[in-house]
Amino acid sequence: MPRLLLAVGFVSAFVACDRDNEKYFPQPVAEYPGVVDLGEFTPLTLADWLDPSTRAEKSIYDGLGENAAIGQWGGATFTFQGTGGTVCVLVDPEAVFWLQSVDVRSPADGYICEDNNYDDGDLDLEVGLSAYYNGTPGVTVGNFEQVYEDSLGNEVVFEANECLMTGQRGQAGAHAGRATPEFCEIDTSLHPGRDYTVLLRLWSVPIDDYVVHYAATVVEIGAGDTCADLVSAVAADPECALENEGTGEGFSTLEELYCAGELDDLCTEVE
């Protein structure tokens, strides 16, 4: 009997060794560097935003791969000039449609659909005056932390990221989870004409191709208006404000169905 147990354990150990999980560790992709600078961006007007084709045409559609420099943040940066008013900055990483309903506490439509867990990436949004950005665009990703020295020489580290999103419990400085769009209002009234830097911090890349595709934009909005107002003017869901950010097979069809509220139909057909 002990010999039998030993043999079973030996076989089991070999089976375990047969697993190759290397694919779960994203590798750099030559066509999509992990740190990129997209240059200067001209904010969309409200009219641009409301027109679907202009909205897509003037917004950024790109992808980010894993940073080849091990242990360093990846991300994309671009700048825009302060308009003297308020702007909305928005980023929508691929993909996640069905995962939103995989929640046993509040199961929603589409739960019966099987999700592709490997096509989701995540980008975190930070925005501030370019003068305060301490990264080197296109080379290294930084943040908006700076040091203020008062008149007595006392130094205080302060955070100049102005894109402060509110979490579910009301806490400032939150970020949306996996592949969920992030957006915030930036008041440029005190710094018209000054450069602002938008940082799309690479939080995770999809496992299927190691590239997170995304759409991003900056839109002028009226004083007192919010990004939520801007989004609701064109879509019921922030996921649907900037469409076709993913490039995977069937992505656009899936997103179209999701935005039309017809995912159930697809699931039924699959069943």
Binding site: G128, F158, D187
Partner: protein, 302 residues
């Protein structure tokens, strides 16, 4: 001879004396902490304790001077005080981020009087410690001077100090008045009238990070005509959920010293001439053990 041998050769008295010397030496150890306690006196002008009160029965308005009108008195230590930021003296500020005001980055601070919950929601954010000797003092002032009687959770006027005490003990599960901070006792009242007719109180700013050249400044939050204070956050403080009652007890906003201009309002009294601390470092300050006088003589008008 080994150390153990030396000790064993000593008499008990010698060993005790040696131990005492070691212990005493420990007591003199100076950590050279960069923080200091700043002490002194604040003076608020008589006007801060004066109100014109209309007597409903006679229709006559009369001037009432009472230290219970004095709101919380805030103190902060800053790198500098400037006269070109607001319409009143204001601490120097750091960079303006977004539309927010610049942070003053204080080195420390303190208060003379803090908000305390006097057991009924009708007193929320209206009661300051060090202003009332006992229950009767509070009830009398609110009923006869403010014409804003304290009412219980059923809306009935609280007239009896004993009922007041019972309500407090029930709510907080206390067993003696000493646990209620808003009851100062006759000897614990902060402000006393001085020879000039102004009101003064002692202060201590605990554990302030010392920087040579820093300036101590502050302001007094004067209550408005409804006896509300701009520096109290009714949503802050201890949360109570008992039966049908659900409320917070109120407390000061957490960033008063960082963003004073968010809270300083018309009628408040601000220190016009801050005290500058010129001692070389914290050790020199501690050795001198100075006390300071801060005068809150600038009334904010706009």
């Amino acid at each position: 001879m080994s150390p153990r041998g030396v000790l064993s050769d000593m008499t008990s008295a010698t060993r005790a004396a040696l131990l005492l010397a070691v212990v005493a030496q420990a007591c003199t150890f100076d950590e050279h902490l960069p923080q200091v306690d700043i002490k002194g006196t604040v003076i608020v002008p008589r006007a801060a304790a004066t109100r014109m009160i209309l007597d409903d029965r006679t229709g006559v308005e009369s001037e009432v001077v009472d230290a219970r009108f004095i709101g919380p008195v805030y103190l902060g230590a800053y790198s500098d005080i400037r006269y070109d930021i607001e319409a009143y003296p204001h601490p120097a500020t750091g960079p303006i981020i977004g539309g927010e005001l610049g942070n003053t980055y204080p080195y420390g601070g303190g208060t003379v009087g803090v908000f305390d919950f006097a057991c009924y929601t009708s007193t929320l954010c209206k009661v300051v410690t060090g202003r009332y000797a006992d229950y009767s003092s509070l009830l009398d002032f609110w009923s006869n001077t403010l014409d804003q009687p304290v009412v219980d959770e059923q809306g009935a006027e609280v007239q009896s100090p004993d009922y007041f005490r019972t309500s407090c003990y029930d709510l907080f599960e206390y067993t003696e008045d000493a646990e209620l901070l808003f009851l100062a006792g006759e000897d614990g009242l902060d402000f006393k009238e001085n020879a000039d007719g102004d009101f003064e109180a002692e202060f201590t700013m605990w554990r302030v990070n010392y920087h040579a050249g820093m300036k101590v400044w502050g302001w007094m939050d004067a209550p408005d005509s409804n006896f509300d204070f701009t520096t109290c956050d009714p949503a802050n403080g201890q949360q109570f959920n008992q039966y049908s009652a659900s409320f917070t007890t109120g407390s000061s906003y957490i960033d008063l010293l960082n963003f004073p201009s968010n809270y300083i309002d018309i009628g408040d009294f601000v220190v016009n001439e801050p005290v500058e601390l010129t001692y070389e470092d914290a050790d020199a300050f501690r050795e001198a053990a100075p006390t300071f006088t801060l005068v809150y003589d600038f009334q904010v008008e706009k």
